[in-house]
Symmetry: C2
Subunit: 155 residues, 2 copies
């Protein structure tokens, strides 16, 4: 049993570290993006995900997966961004249940403006985390990951 307990404790400890680093980065990005561009992290993520799509459009459901959100949250998120003129909705021609969401010029503009802050905040937070003994190994590991393909969350 000792061996199994150890394995479980290693996983639990890894999970705590992952959660801690995630929380750190998430709240740093949240504050920065909110303050400068009135964007939440999820909202930024959505804009960014859309910008990486050919044609800048995506279906609600894809978006939900990419943002790790429920479909109801996605509906409201898209509505918020639509009201701000950052993206638009239009019906799928082929499957009329589906709704495409498309980045507007204004949305692309805002993303272009926000990306530097996002990237800088991310870098600063990771650098800071590298000085925390418990987080440092994970930060190094992250850095050594092979750049992942387009969409780790979507599938």
């Amino acid at each position: 049993m000792g061996i199994q307990d150890d394995a479980a404790e290693i996983r639990a400890s890894g999970w705590r570290t992952l959660a801690a680093l995630h929380g750190l980065i998430d709240s740093a990005l949240e504050k920065a993006l909110q303050a400068e561009h009135r964007l939440s992290v999820v909202e930024y993520t959505v804009l960014e995900a859309l910008s990486r799509q050919d044609g800048w459009h995506m279906r609600m459901q894809q978006l939900a997966r990419a943002a790790a959100l429920s479909s109801s949250a996605t509906t409201r998120l898209v509505s918020r961004l639509e009201e701000r003129g950052l993206l638009g909705r239009y019906l799928c021609a082929d499957d009329r249940r589906g709704i495409y969401t498309e980045l507007t010029t204004q949305g692309r503009e805002l993303l272009r403006a926000a990306r530097p802050l996002h990237d800088a905040t991310l870098e600063a937070t990771l650098t800071g985390a590298a000085d925390v003994p418990e987080l440092a190994p994970l930060v190094r590991a992250l850095h050594d990951l092979e750049p992942a393909p387009a969409s780790p969350a979507g599938s």
Copy 2:
């Protein structure tokens, strides 16, 4: 500039992977713990953090850091758990602003009951994630972390 852009993109990609894995684990744990023990992940985290303290008690503020929560959220979280008899509050003798929270017998009992499910869910989710190409490298990296000391979030 190309080199800097690449570095930023590597960090962004690592962050997306981290967030995706975090979301996966978090929602799996949330569903499992909620269904079987009526506990959210944060609640479990708090009970677990308390159980790793000598004397099973901790101040609100420490707790807030350990759970990566605001102090107001911590107040309400502790209230919820207190109402269920899982922990108790008592004043610090030395600093009367401070309030200690202490795991009750019932709280330790529930934690003991929930831990196996938590650990099993974590293992299952990690195993599942190891089959997703984008997540696999991070899962491996997590596994290879040296077991972190007591509290990665608290400091």
